[in-house]
Symmetry: C2
Subunit: 159 residues, 2 copies
């Protein structure tokens, strides 16, 4: 891809995109939660074409229409989000700290497929710090939710 | 300026900026109205730094805090807006038609400092078409306002 295309997408991300980490309850997971990462771009549906254009350039993720008149282009998963963020990173200005923090957290998580409970909890704390940067409202599952689950499952024994 | 900086700003404009033409009532103008053009970027005040960054690169216009928690970076006037749009034009994707239309209208207006009433009215019609692209709400002064004024001043005589 041309460097001006990457710089354009970095500008679009700074103006209108977001990087999100979320805690998803998953009863089939040992610790009861999955950490998810999403890189998302939003436009009203009449401007959906620009989201398709981003998709054609990045060749990952999917564009969908929401039921509130907006369209959303989502890239989900550690590997796809890391690849895209690494390409955009040199050109990002406003969200530079967020991109760097996201890349570090993805690195940590993917390097350790079987985290100890305390390690997992540490990641959840970082997810929460990240959400604070995003001013995310309606966070349903927090560090505290995970800690309560881990405790109830007997994972958090005194050292 | 580096081409990746221009491409970044073009992406930011597509994600979060707007190009606006407005009709301003001016009692000291022959036709009662002035046509104004503004290139604007918006962010919440906590992200004001990115607007300052844009200003440092484009070296024109001004950043101000609004009283609704947002900051706004405005570039006003035909010559400044034209200069910036001409630099960004090669990299703009979503707002490409708007940029081209704005550049043509600015060209027409600046080439004719003493328009005939019908010519001025034609520009006002184009301002209105442009506003439709922007989905601008709360348009106070329209083509019809200008036509009414021109008619009341006796400018619009039957051919």
């Amino acid at each position: 891809m041309r460097d001006t295309t990457l710089a354009y997408i970095a500008g679009f991300l700074d103006g209108d995109g977001s990087i999100m980490f979320q805690l998803k309850p998953r009863s089939d997971y040992a610790y009861g939660f999955q950490i998810k990462v999403t890189l998302a771009f939003y436009q009203k549906q009449s401007n959906r074409s620009i989201l398709e254009w981003l998709y054609e350039n990045l060749k990952v993720g999917a564009v969908r229409d929401r039921n509130d008149g907006m369209s959303e282009y989502d890239i989900e998963g550690f590997a796809p989000v890391r690849n895209v963020l690494e390409m955009l990173e040199p050109y990002v200005v406003l969200k530079r700290d967020q991109v760097d923090m996201a890349l570090r957290l993805i690195e940590e998580i993917t390097n350790q497929p079987e985290p100890a409970p305390n390690e997992f909890l540490e990641w959840c704390a970082k997810v929460e710090i990240f959400q604070t940067l995003n001013y995310t409202k309606n966070r349903r599952h927090t560090y505290e939710s995970v800690r309560a689950i881990l405790k109830s499952k007997g994972y958090l024994v005194p050292p």
